[in-house]
């Protein structure tokens, strides 16, 4: 049976990735991760149900997996030397959290003999460490060492038009902006075209908030990046430093995963994920 694991947050991008995967795979494992600080993981059921309605209920396996211990390790392993070397880059919580999710996904794939993984990473969010192309490339290399193919099917999709602050205020626009017709530029367009979403652009709406897990910790990462680092040294340097940190973290976890693959029950990783 052709199977794939999807890192599933319940949002538009990962739902689109799962919907695209459903066209080429017989079983899709939707893996939602929870930990201390991630709230409303149950919201992810909303779009998982829509996917089941569209493609059949037996096609999807939806699991909510706790990654508390793993997240602690990605954030704090070798903390003092890392703090001296990388400084405030250790506050890039989203990237560290995503890394914990990928490590757990890799272990899940090894346990269930799944050879394909995808997620909803998108180029329009590439200022966030977890969506940087360089970071996803490093992850691809990590997965490939265990004969698993990691893809980012919605990476090149465009970003939808933001819901402007005038719309949020309820001020009528002078010019009506009609919803575009035709092709699928954004993940919302794609889901609309497939008949899964009722509208093309749901991002930023109340419905959007009601269908995915919630987490505010990106605020620390954003304060460091946008107030402190990027204004002085630029985005490229920021990306370079982030990737340097994540490359080291991935190398550390690579050792732990190979130990897990060799002897699961006695491995350190097994203790952290069970």
């Amino acid at each position: 049976m052709k199977e794939i694991a999807v890192l599933y947050s319940g949002g538009t991008d990962s739902t689109c990735a799962a919907a695209l995967a459903a066209e080429g795979f017989e079983r899709i494992h939707l893996l939602t991760y929870s930990r201390f600080g991630i709230f409303c993981a149950e919201h992810t059921d909303v779009n998982a149900a829509k996917l089941r309605d569209k493609f059949g209920k037996d096609k999807f396996v939806h699991r909510v997996i706790n990654i508390d211990r793993l997240f602690r390790e990605t954030s704090y392993s070798g903390y003092m030397p890392a703090l001296v070397k990388h400084g405030f880059f250790l506050l890039t919580t989203c990237g560290l959290c995503k890394l914990a999710m990928h490590i757990r996904t890799l272990a899940y794939c090894l346990d269930n003999k799944i050879s394909c993984v995808c997620d909803g990473a998108n180029k329009n969010m590439d200022y966030s460490p977890d969506q940087m192309r360089e970071f996803t490339e490093e992850l691809k290399k990590l997965y490939s060492r265990y004969n698993i193919e990691y893809t980012t099917p919605v990476y090149e999709f465009s970003h939808p038009e933001d819901i402007g602050w005038l719309d949020k205020l309820g001020v009528p626009r002078l010019l009506d902006i009609k919803e575009k017709e035709g092709g699928a530029d954004t993940t919302g367009d794609q889901l609309f075209k497939m008949g899964i979403f009722p509208r093309r652009n749901m991002k930023g709406t109340k419905e959007d908030r009601g269908m995915q897990a919630r987490c505010f910790q990106l605020v620390l990462s954003n304060i460091f990046a946008n107030w402190l680092y990027i204004p002085g040294r630029g985005l490229e340097k920021y990306k370079e430093r982030c990737v340097g940190l994540y490359r080291e973290k991935i190398a550390y976890f690579d050792g732990l995963i190979s130990e897990y693959a060799r002897n699961k029950t006695k491995s350190k990783l097994n203790r952290w994920i069970n």
């Binding site: 201390f36 600080g37 919580t93 205020l169 309820g170 001020v171 620390l220 304060i223």
Partner: protein
Amino acid sequence: MIKKILALIICSVAVILPWRLRIIYAEMLGWAAQAVTAAYFHIIRFLVKSLSSPENGGRT
């Protein structure tokens, strides 16, 4: 400059916190940012509504 100093203080506190406390600290900052944004929108929405009411000669 004020932004930079504020960021430096916030990040210096965060970097020495253990994981659960750092998450709580980040959550509190997140809620504070949400509260500021919500207050801004409520005030502006109230002003726009008042200005567009018929008593002020605005369109309904």
